[in-house]
């Protein structure tokens, strides 16, 4: 797969913020159009690429979300970025660090967007970014199985941010929004990308050094729906509904269902 030159505005934005980028300041691979940035990073990981490699695309032809969902990725409208991480190397509690990785990524993305544009987005558990009820950005994390101890786990973390308005398919139009639609002005995509990666470097640093409380605190502040909101989800095929009661120390969503408290760790939770 032959990559394309990193556009000038990205080169400048990366140069301006090299230090805070930490592991994401080293290697940037850009594609005008690619199937999926996550797939490219997974392939690089299989070839032994170092943690921190960044793949960016202007458009994806097979952009995807959780469980085969499509992530609409037309040219010029969004930012599609994937990075390679190794949360199992965390200095303390690698299992907890891995569990909190996706929440940390949600916090980082919200902080990066706010830093670059001033727009404050809410987090929907575990890490969708929304403005009101509309989705602004999503994260897809995929763990590549590695034989051996859990510390060997490598994670491909991809995010998609809707930057400008696009001709969304009808089923998306009512549920999606973009930075430019919300702000009513043009947004510097390269700046958003670099701020998001710098925030990710900082929150990933928290994770790797055991500063879990910082991640949980910031996540809670940005996720108003994690307490007292009515939600429904599927539990092993059974439909359930209840009222959110916070998240626990591993990031699991707690939900009151009648008199009992349930812990949700996977699947899609729908806020009503």
């Amino acid at each position: 797969m032959v990559s394309d030159p990193l556009p000038r505005d990205f080169v400048e934005a990366f140069d301006a913020l090299r230090e805070p980028l930490g592991p994401f300041g080293q290697r940037h691979i850009f594609f005008d159009t690619i199937g999926s940035t996550n797939d490219i990073v997974a392939a690089l990981s299989a070839e032994g690429a170092d943690e921190g490699v960044v793949v960016i695309a202007d458009a994806q032809t097979a952009g995807r979300g959780r469980r085969g969902r499509t992530w609409f990725s037309p040219p010029g409208a969004g930012l599609y970025v994937s990075v390679l991480l190794a949360p199992g190397r965390a200095a303390t509690e690698p299992v907890r660090a891995t569990s909190l990785l996706t929440l940390a990524a949600g916090v980082a993305l919200a902080e990066g967007i706010e830093g670059a544009t001033g727009l404050s987005a809410d987090i929907k558990w575990p890490n969708d970014l929304r403005v009101g009820t509309r989705k602004l950005a999503g994260i897809l994390a995929e763990g590549a199985a590695v034989p051996g101890p859990p510390t060997a786990l490598r994670v491909v973390l991809g995010f998609g941010i809707n930057v400008g308005p696009a001709a969304y398919p009808p089923d998306l139009a009512a549920r999606a929004t973009s930075l430019e639609s919300e702000l009513g002005r043009p947004v510097d995509r390269a700046l958003v990308c670099v701020h998001a990666l710098a925030s990710l470097a900082a929150r990933y640093g928290d994770l790797m050094t055991g500063r879990f409380d910082a991640i949980l605190d910031h996540w809670r502040r940005r996720a108003p729906g994690h307490v007292g909101a009515r939600v429904r989800w599927q539990d092993g095929g059974e439909p359930r509904s209840g009222v959110t009661a916070g998240i626990d120390d591993t990031g699991a969503l707690l939900v009151h269902v009648g008199a009992s408290l349930r812990r949700v760790i996977a699947g899609e939770v729908i806020w009503e």
């Binding site: 469980r67 763990g143 590549a144 859990p150 092993g236 095929g237 990031g251």
Partner: protein
């Protein structure tokens, strides 16, 4: 551990009416479980058919016996029986995490593997989702899938058995 020791263990389980016994000895972990003792899967179902390949004393016939050694277990050769000169191994792939078990990459796609599928080392067997991190679980072995213990979409615990693979 030799065959006699194995027999002793199995007798112990039977004599004391134990439903399950797990022991660790010189780096080998053994779990013995009697039919119908646990919820869901009965180990003997996985071994239906090739019982002759599994040279256990008659009293053990009702028990499933195989090594269980951590996240990516190494198969353990069964003791050679009278006539059999080939060594056959049965490996169990366990869940490295707590999460939701998916047998296919997406809801409408076919399963990664079925019972009877031939698998290569490194081939993806399933996905386990936790905290929206979708973990691909690989086969650590070349071999044939002889059992799938968990149904699609069900929660799994750390260390829970996912697949049995007869290694080649």
């Amino acid at each position: 551990m030799d065959l006699d020791q194995l027999k002793q263990i199995l007798r112990l389980v039977q004599d004391h009416g134990l439903s399950e016994l797990e022991i660790e000895h010189e780096g080998l972990r053994l779990r013995v479980r009697r039919d119908g003792a646990g919820p869901g899967v009965t180990p003997s179902a996985a071994l239906a058919g090739p019982s002759a390949l599994y040279p256990l004393p008659p009293e053990a016939a009702a028990s499933g016996v195989w090594p269980a050694s951590g996240v990516l277990p190494t198969g353990v050769a069964t003791p050679a029986s009278d006539a059999a000169d080939t060594e056959l191994e049965l490996a169990v792939v366990k869940s490295p995490i707590v999460g939701t078990f998916y047998r296919s990459p997406e809801p409408t796609a076919p399963a990664f593997v079925e019972v009877g599928s031939t698998v290569k080392k490194g081939q993806v067997l399933c996905i386990i989702e936790a905290m929206k991190l979708l973990n691909e679980i690989d086969s650590g072995y070349d071999g044939e899938v002889v059992n799938v213990y968990v149904e699609n979409g069900q929660p799994v615990q750390y260390g829970e058995r996912l697949f049995a693979i007869r290694t080649k």
